[in-house]
């Protein structure tokens, strides 16, 4: 086959989209949407990297901050949520050997995430609405800097994604608890109890042990979904609150902003937002590590019962750690700073450390293993979190936070290494593992490109985080602009690392297109003909 033939028909013309089931197609659509939005986030990231080296006239200051506002939301909601929703809506029925509760709901979930992300991104692009995750009241309602109309459209986009999250959660829990047609009636209450970890908790205190009805990865998905539901509720409620001020402004009423206490708002919003960062991400990631380790090795997980207990602890910990974001707020009670901000947060090192150890021990017990793409990326993901979590624990300290808060340290070695190296490489591992299953045995176009993807992403992600961190330790703030090249040595090196990330993404994207072909991509988005 010539390269043009491969571009059109895919590697060896093995990919046949007409033979895909609706669930396979929907999952692949989620993946493509997720990858496109990841591409958006990478390009936005590179624009900001260049701007941090030297601001250029093509991008105004207000546009720069609009990009900064949209960038993490596009990355988390548009990309990660898409890929995670797609993967879990496929995996829960796959692992439980039953159909998804509602295929239609899954299609709506995909459409709402895709549309919602485009709406808030577009609103930010056009109106430059830029309150940065709306954390700091009354900034989201400061209409001397932002357009209320642009803000209202932005909030609408976010709200659609939160609705999509609720649909996802309903679908997951209904799939777990509903008895499929023609099957023997299953105890839905007991299934739910097992999924949430209540059975395991009860087993700790009774002599009569009950067996776990759902597998560990499904339990992790269910427990992460609890945090997702709480988080979506908080973001939706806050969105409505901000919307009231926006609608008031559009109708000519200037509502009193002091009606909302800024510190209470900050506590409320961080509590909700942290359910993503310190809740569902860590729980979903741990569950995905366990699943990947068992699928790669074909063996049982090391210390399964402890792993279940750790997931339950992580769920409770995620509800009580938010105060580490308020260690520099002098009005925040000291007891909350020490107990929630420091002590409970330190538990995350334990829960994530346990998941790290259990995954490595499971892999080690099965050696020798072949260094496949999925194993390689899984190890990359494990390394990412083992670098990022301690960086977070260090800044979640009353003493160190005084000199680290809001510097590039927070967003470099902690946030970007956790998201880009830890989370994204874990998702890539799942992608490489599921690719043949989702495509009915399509072949990857180039292993060399996959290997390049791994090394460029790993070096780029760690490099960028490290150089941002060095700038932070030297006093460079996040969410700011430096006009005189004060930190250019670090910013140029971080920019070069960003180039590696961009190259890694392009190599992956090209590899996928060449594997399934342009005809295959179009086929994925056409209606399915095969039965589920």
């Amino acid at each position: 086959m010539t390269i043009i033939d491969t571009l059109i028909a895919g590697e060896q013309a093995l990919f046949k989209p007409e033979k895909l089931t609706p669930m396979q197609k929907n999952t692949l659509r989620f993946v493509i949407i997720g990858l496109i939005y990841y591409g958006f986030a990478v390009v936005e990231g590179m624009i900001m990297r260049i701007y941090e080296i030297k601001p250029f006239p093509l991008v105004t200051q207000s546009q720069f901050f609009a990009i900064m506002t949209a960038h993490p939301l596009v990355g988390i909601f548009g990309s990660s949520y898409s890929i995670v929703f797609g993967a879990f809506l496929f995996l829960v029925p796959f692992l439980m050997k039953r159909p998804l509760w509602s295929y239609k709901l899954a299609v709506w979930t995909m459409a709402l995430v895709g549309a919602g992300t485009f709406i808030f991104w577009g609103a930010g692009f056009i109106s430059h609405y830029a309150p940065l995750y709306t954390l700091y009241w009354p900034l989201p309602a400061d209409f001397s800097q932002f357009s209320p109309l642009g803000g209202a459209v932005f909030i609408l986009g976010i709200a659609l994604i939160m609705v999509a999250a609720f649909l996802f959660i309903i679908n997951i829990f209904a799939t777990i608890t509903t008895t499929p047609e023609g099957s023997e009636k299953q105890p839905s209450g007991a299934m739910l109890s097992s999924a949430l970890g209540l059975t395991g908790l009860r087993n700790l205190f009774t002599g009569k042990k009950k067996e776990h009805l759902v597998s560990l990865p499904v339990a992790a998905i269910a427990r992460g979904a609890i945090d997702m539901a709480l988080n979506s509720g908080v973001i939706l409620f806050t969105g409505v609150l901000i919307l009231v001020y926006m609608v008031g402004s559009l109708l000519g009423y200037d509502l009193r902003r002091t009606a909302i206490d800024a510190l209470l708002y900050k506590n409320w919003f961080w509590w909700g937002l942290d359910l993503i960062a310190d809740g569902l991400v860590l729980i979903f990631v741990a569950g995905t590590w366990y699943l990947l380790a068992t699928l790669i090795t074909g063996k049982n997980l090391f210390m399964q019962n402890i792993a279940r207990a750790a997931l339950f602890v992580e769920l409770v910990v995620s509800w009580t750690v938010w105060s580490h974001h308020l260690l520099s707020d002098q009005a925040q009670p000291a007891i909350l700073k020490v107990v929630s901000g420091e002590m409970v947060t330190a538990f995350e090192m334990m829960t994530q450390g346990l998941a790290f150890f259990i995954t490595l021990a499971t892999l080690w017990a099965a050696r020798p293993l072949k260094m496949t793409n999925e194993l390689r990326f899984l190890l990359g993901g494990l390394l990412g979190f083992s670098l990022a979590v301690p960086a977070g624990i260090m800044q979640a300290d009353v003493g160190l936070n005084r000199i680290l808060h809001n510097t590039q340290w927070v967003v470099g070695p902690h946030v970007h290494v956790a998201v880009l190296v830890g989370l994204t490489m874990t998702l890539y591992s799942a992608f490489y593992l599921l690719f043949p299953i989702l495509t009915n045995g399509a072949k990857l176009y180039s292993q060399k490109l996959a290997t390049f993807h791994f090394w460029a992403h790993l070096a780029g992600g760690i490099g960028m985080g490290a150089f941002m961190g060095m700038a932070g330790l030297n006093g460079m703030l996040r969410r700011s602009i430096y006009f005189n090249g004060e930190f250019n040595v670090f910013m140029i090196l971080a920019g070069l690392s960003g180039c590696l990330l961009l190259a890694a993404f392009l190599s992956l994207f090209f590899n996928i297109i060449m594997s399934v072909g342009l005809r295959g991509v179009i086929g994925i988005f056409s209606p399915a003909k095969a039965e589920t």
């Binding site: 940065l132 050696r367 703030l477």
Partner: protein
């Protein structure tokens, strides 16, 4: 009081050492997991030792910083300390309003910075001439935002907002607006 740059230096060394160690461990693991070995699995004793190690590390970090970083005790118990000097600063419309054009304190002074916001959430930080940060705090409207800091050596500092308050906040910098002088120079 130990300068915050010393604390940062210590943190940089500790974290760099940790990063090199964990990257080496993962590289060794990646090599070893593809090789046939004698050991079939990991003993549970190793696992529980690791759990205990994590617990010790997590708790000891805060105990060590509480007992070695001098501003922590002062910060958590601000009401128990009497400042040698106090400066009341107001922020409104992305502008700092200082009590005087240049604020001056002496070496050894325990200085109170009492910062009030009349509109948005801001930040308040002091920065050295080389742009490195001495300290910062958040400035929340409707609440008291006060910070005590003991200055042990002379220096000239720039005030800067350390929290994003919209695009207008980028210019919230007042260069060389706080100076610490040797004791006796006032006379």
């Amino acid at each position: 009081m130990v300068d915050s740059s010393v604390v940062l230096y210590g943190q940089t060394i500790a974290y760099t050492f940790y990063c090199l160690a964990i990257i080496s461990v993962m590289a060794w693991f990646a090599y070893g997991v593809t090789r046939t070995g004698k050991m079939g699995g990991i003993k549970t004793g190793v696992f529980y030792s690791f759990v205990i190690l994590l617990a010790i590390l997590g708790v000891s970090l805060h105990i060590i910083t509480y007992s070695t970083i001098p501003w922590v005790k002062v910060d958590l118990n601000r009401a128990d300390y009497k400042p040698d000097k106090a400066f009341e600063i107001t922020i409104e419309n992305h502008q700092f309003r200082l009590p005087s054009e240049k604020m001056v304190a002496s070496v050894g002074d325990l200085v109170l910075f009492d910062v009030k916001s009349n509109d948005l959430t801001y930040g308040f930080g002091l920065f050295r001439k080389d742009n490195s940060m001495l300290f910062q705090m958040q400035v929340i409207p409707g609440h008291r935002n006060d910070l005590l800091w003991k200055f042990e050596k002379p220096g000239v500092y720039t005030i800067r907002s350390t929290e994003y308050s919209g695009p207008k906040g980028v210019d919230m910098i007042i260069r060389n607006s706080f100076e610490v002088i040797e004791t006796g120079r006032f006379n």
